[in-house]
Symmetry: C2
Subunit: 333 residues, 2 copies
């Protein structure tokens, strides 16, 4: 039910995913009265792979997380997360209110023992392929220990999803030299240097998309990570808009755009943010994927596919085991 | 002498500026033995507007600020800043080592009374024209009071340079709602709300280039501002590279690029980062402009032009007066 467009986007995206992946089962959670008419044909087409789980309420996009948690116990996001808790679903995907989804997920699923705060991780396109980044805004005023926990969890996700043994981890900073940075990153760097993680050192903001070395995972305080992510979104929006305007200026430039369409199209496809939609909440004892609220059908499909991958790779279990191990090894030092 | 290319860039840029602006006088500071042969014709062409000031040393790009300050008392940047202190120059423009330039400027010129820390301000292109942003990396671990001081100084610069009465000021945060953010920005917001500044509230990272409302000045901790700036640089680099690759793929796409060249050219000109080169150090009792180290001739010209504008608008004097006034008005509350 969530996101800026609700079932108008989530249903076609879901049906597309069911069609493309015969191994996928989906439970659509929301108001039966709304969903049933839209799904009558699909329910017949996928009798064993598609079902509806009724939820009488819906958290709005601007509702406060605490109010949603307290007052909407039968919201679609709450019911969906309950399904994960009860083992009836392997993951929850939502385009709804981020704060409410995080608060509900944390309340219902609980944290992995040893992790203080959940973090939001997602990928950005880069000149090397893509980069995983966390935290993207779940936490502000993090301690060095929190950043270290993010690195442990993020590394495990990257290992599983990318099939690489020792992902290269960078700490987001304002310079690469040891003397650079605030107290938070300097202390976090010490923890990372003394760990078994493949920590490569400080990286600057340009490393998210186009650093001078490839980094698999970039760790940041949620305040900094969120500002960086939004700054990149703004830059892409301005650059894309300026490119469009340059071709829209007059009849001649429009003609140029028409002729250059295949190249412009291939350019657009390669940096399409919809192909990077979907952020995972890490640190919880269950898988929750947040789609951008403004996601269209293609973007929401990407978020569902991300959930599929993380379920198949058993990311939550791997993170839990790694956290336990790394806590044990640190305790024994 | 500074920057990645030294006189190879700074001299042609200087001569271009002298040619285009009959009111401009330049003193080129550096090793006479290097500069004299390169400038013999120009010195004849502009006898009253161009001169050389000898400096026997040069700070390297990777030298530590404290070492440069202590050991290189006859460096080109030190001598240039001395000229500003002694009233022999109205501004110093350098493409050299940022940390050393800042440390030297602070030591030689001293701070404006009432300002605790200098800040770096620059402009970014935006869908509304451009946005001024500070601090871009001079300060980490700022207090709310520091952010407030940045806002006072930045507003005065924007007023002078843009000829607007009450520039709209935003505080960089991870959401626009009051509850969002870390302790630092929440406290800074209170100071700004209670001031006479035209504070419009929190803005997110996308506001640097493409927010949903126009903001004239965005205030941030230097850590956050620097990460945002570098993230935008990385995004632009990746997007530009991808666009080039899309047209470079094969003979047909290359032909498309040739046909679309005028539109692509106009696009490039509108977001050319070289036209935004030059950052001002605010809070000092003299004008120092830092050019990007990798600046080419066009970019370095932009930095010289920025210095000209700020001298003409008497930015330092206006900031000093405003700081004094605003401290007086706060003390009397």
């Amino acid at each position: 039910m969530g996101g800026d467009f609700g079932p108008q986007v989530t249903i076609p995206a879901s049906l597309d995913c069911l069609k493309n992946n015969p191994g996928l089962k989906l439970i659509l959670v929301g108001d039966e009265a709304v969903l049933n008419p839209l799904l009558s044909n699909a329910l017949k087409a996928y009798p064993s792979r598609l079902s509806i789980q009724h939820a009488s309420e819906c958290v709005t996009m601007d509702e406060s997380p605490s109010k949603a948690l307290k007052n909407k116990k039968d919201s679609s996001m709450r019911v969906a997360i309950n399904l994960v808790r009860d083992g009836l679903a392997d993951a929850c995907v939502s385009a709804g209110n981020t704060g409410a989804l995080m608060a509900t997920a944390r309340f219902v699923l609980k944290m992995i023992p040893g992790i203080d705060r959940p973090a939001i991780i997602s990928t950005l396109p880069s000149i090397y392929g893509h980069t995983h980044v966390l935290d993207l805004g779940a936490n502000v005023d993090c301690t060095a220990e929190h950043l270290f926990q993010f690195a442990v969890m993020g590394a495990e996700l990257v290992k599983a999803v990318e099939n690489i043994d020792r992902p290269k981890i960078g700490l987001l900073n304002i310079g690469e030299e040891d003397v650079k940075g605030n107290e938070q990153v300097k202390s976090a760097a010490k923890l990372l240097e003394n760990s078994s993680l493949n920590y490569i050192g400080y990286v600057e903001g340009d490393s998210l998309n186009a650093g001078h070395v490839k980094v698999d995972l970039i760790v940041a305080d949620g305040f900094v990570g969120n500002v960086a992510l939004k700054s990149i979104e703004g830059a892409a929006k301005m650059i894309g808009g300026t490119l469009r305007q340059s071709f829209d200026k007059n009849l001649f430039t429009k003609l140029m755009g028409l002729i250059a369409y295949p190249a412009l199209r291939s350019f657009k496809n390669r940096i399409d943010p919809r192909l990077y939609n979907g952020a995972s909440f890490l640190g919880l004892r269950g898988l929750v994927i947040k789609s951008h609220g403004g996601a269209d059908i293609l973007a929401f499909k990407t978020a569902i596919q991300l959930a599929e991958i993380e379920v198949k790779k058993d990311v939550i279990k791997k993170i839990s085991e790694q956290v336990e191990q790394s806590l044990a090894s640190r305790a024994s030092v």
